[in-house]
């Protein structure tokens, strides 16, 4: 089976981010990058599918040279190879999906896994974008997945207050939600092996962003609130303030 997993290279949420000189994106200096946490579930899902059905797992990542580091992390988990769509200019999600679609065009993908969201721009878009561009079904935010021999998929996805059972057929795009599986940790052996696994560089077609970032700013700093008091003695004042001042009760 031809299994693809899209991985993204994102700042670790605990690192400081500053708006860069362009005023439209962050300043990458001093930022620690990680494999997007949801993509660990996506990689694990790909590896499990390979273990059940055979075939190989190819990681795909769109971005500058530095994303190779993230592809290696997925290879260390056990993926077989990588495709790096090399772009320096920042792309919107539509452009990223376009680049991935072009890269997958002649590779007869049976299954494409992505994460629920990438934790930089929190787009939650890639699953649907890819599904539509590749012309295949998509199921997003999946917590349970069953793929039968004949390619019939039965999945559970998170919805408000519960879950929804969705069925479809391979080839399909699936976005992984926490709970889908327990991602394996790369072992030392895997990390060493990853260094020798092939990563193919691909040049994307030129693309003009459809979504234009006009500006990026720091959020308005909220004034630190008021300490109403200490201990249970303060609850009377709190209830009064919630009623009279905040008007929320």
């Amino acid at each position: 089976m031809n299994i693809f997993v899209c991985v993204s290279h994102v700042p670790d949420t605990t690192t400081k981010v500053q708006v860069g000189g362009s005023g439209k994106e962050i300043d990458p200096s001093g930022v620690t990058y990680i494999l997007n946490p949801y993509d660990e579930y996506a990689v694990e899902a790909g590896l499990q599918l390979k273990e059940a059905r055979g075939g190989d797992v190819t990681l795909v990542c769109v971005g500058p040279e530095a994303v190779k580091e993230t592809i290696r992390k997925g290879l260390a988990m056990g993926a077989d190879k990588g495709i790096h769509v090399v772009t320096d200019a920042p792309r919107d999600s539509f452009g990223t999906a376009r680049a991935i679609t072009d890269a997958l065009k002649d590779r007869a993908a049976d299954a494409v896994f992505v994460g629920r969201q990438s934790i930089d721009y929190d787009g939650w878009q890639m699953c649907g974008l890819l599904g539509e561009m590749l012309g295949i079904p998509s199921i997003s935010v999946v917590t349970k997945l069953d793929i039968a021999e004949d390619g019939t998929i039965s999945a559970e996805r998170d919805i408000e207050g519960g879950s929804e059972t969705v069925t479809t057929k391979l080839p399909a795009v699936i976005s992984a939600q926490k709970g889908l599986n327990d991602p394996r940790y790369p072992k030392l052996q895997g990390i060493m092996a990853a260094k020798r696994k092939p990563i193919e560089d691909v040049a994307p077609a030129p693309y003009e962003n459809r979504v234009e970032v006009i500006e990026m700013t720091k959020p308005a700093i909220k004034e630190a609130g008021r300490i109403v008091g200490e201990g249970p003695a303060a609850v009377k004042d709190l209830v009064r303030l919630l009623h009279e001042e905040a008007k929320v009760i």
């Binding site: 539509f94 935010v141 879950s163 006009i214 720091k218 300490i227």
Partner: protein, 323 residues
């Protein structure tokens, strides 16, 4: 010009997030000299009419039973047909689990683009601009879509729906042209925990963190939540420890919430937690550490032990509500 708003219903009841989206779309429409047409799959004509109360001049009502359960391919095709029929270039929809799934497919189908999960939307120099926090709330971007066809999904609970005006929308029935192939992907059923409000949709949330020390103390949180008619939320520490289900996790890797009132009990206020709740309208924090970062975003704080403060607060609220 027409702005289409996809309204969402469950079990025949229109979701509040749909009213919010219609109201927000009308504000934009007024500035662009446009009108708002709502689209409703399922429910009934009365529900379709009621959308007029929030600013929809017309509702395109789709009664096709095959669309009773969500099928993304069939929904995308139907909405694309309605856009063409209504000559609408702009679609807005709530960023619910359905909206987040549908919006990207729709954007590609109509050869447009999507600005997802926006928290503000306005008109500048004749163009629609939207804003949204990124990087765990550490920065905010303002975006504009440069293609003619535009899709915006709106974060629930952020835009105000206000009161319904009493105006009714003109209802037009529409039967989308669909074939079996459009239903390769379909939802075949849902499992909903009964009687529980989902944190993502709640107006009031009481959340607990590691300060609760163990699942056996959760009744404290539940008691306060019941008194307030609130949903319960949890920090990731609590979810990872297995005290609470992941569905209750608030934060960057959980749910994004923006209730009127968010009460954080024994939660330190890590950046990833704040990413999910800092757009709440009023935040109350109860923590024994006066330097806990949660106090930086809280409107009101009580420094103290949750085991003393939470029961006292519950009692005080009970007498306030006359319970």
């Amino acid at each position: 010009m027409t702005i289409l708003v996809l309204a969402e219903q469950r079990d025949g009841k229109v979701k509040k997030a749909s009213y919010e989206a219609i109201k927000a779309a009308s504000a934009v429409a007024t500035q662009l000299n446009a009108t708002v047409t709502a689209v409703l799959f399922g429910a009934d004509e009365a529900a379709a009419k009621s959308l007029g109360g929030y600013g929809a001049a017309k509702t395109v009502f789709v009664a096709d039973e095959r669309l009773h359960f969500y099928a993304n391919s069939a929904y995308v095709k139907s909405v694309a047909q309605i856009m063409e029929k209504e000559a609408a270039d702009v679609v807005m929809l709530p960023a619910t689990s359905l909206g987040k799934d549908l919006a990207p497919r729709l954007a590609v189908r109509i050869d447009g683009a999507l600005a997802p999960d926006v928290t503000s939307i306005a008109v500048e120099d004749g163009a629609i601009v939207a804003q949204r926090p990124v990087y765990a709330g550490k920065s905010v971007i303002k975006v504009k879509i440069n293609s003619a066809k535009q899709v915006f999904s709106l974060r629930p609970n952020v835009f105000s729906a206000g009161e319904a005006s009493g105006t009714e929308a003109v209802v037009e029935n529409f039967a989308p042209a669909l074939d079996d192939a459009d239903f390769v992907t379909k939802a075949t059923g849902t499992t909903i925990a009964s009687g529980k409000i989902d944190v993502a949709e709640a107006n009031v949330i009481v959340s607990g963190g590691r300060g609760l020390q163990g699942p056996e103390h959760w009744p404290l949180i539940q008691g306060l939540a019941d008194t307030l008619g609130a949903a319960t939320g949890a920090s990731r520490a609590v979810v990872d420890a297995g005290w609470r289900p992941h569905a209750e996790q608030v934060g960057q890797t959980g749910k994004t919430v923006s209730p009127n009132l968010y009460v954080a009990c024994g939660i330190s206020g890590a950046i990833q937690h704040l990413a999910g709740m800092s757009s709440s309208k009023c935040i109350v924090a109860i923590n024994k550490d006066k330097d806990a970062p949660i106090f930086q975003v809280a409107d009101y704080g009580i420094v103290g032990d949750v085991f003393e403060v939470v029961p006292a607060l519950t009692e005080e609220l009970k007498s306030f509500f006359g319970k």
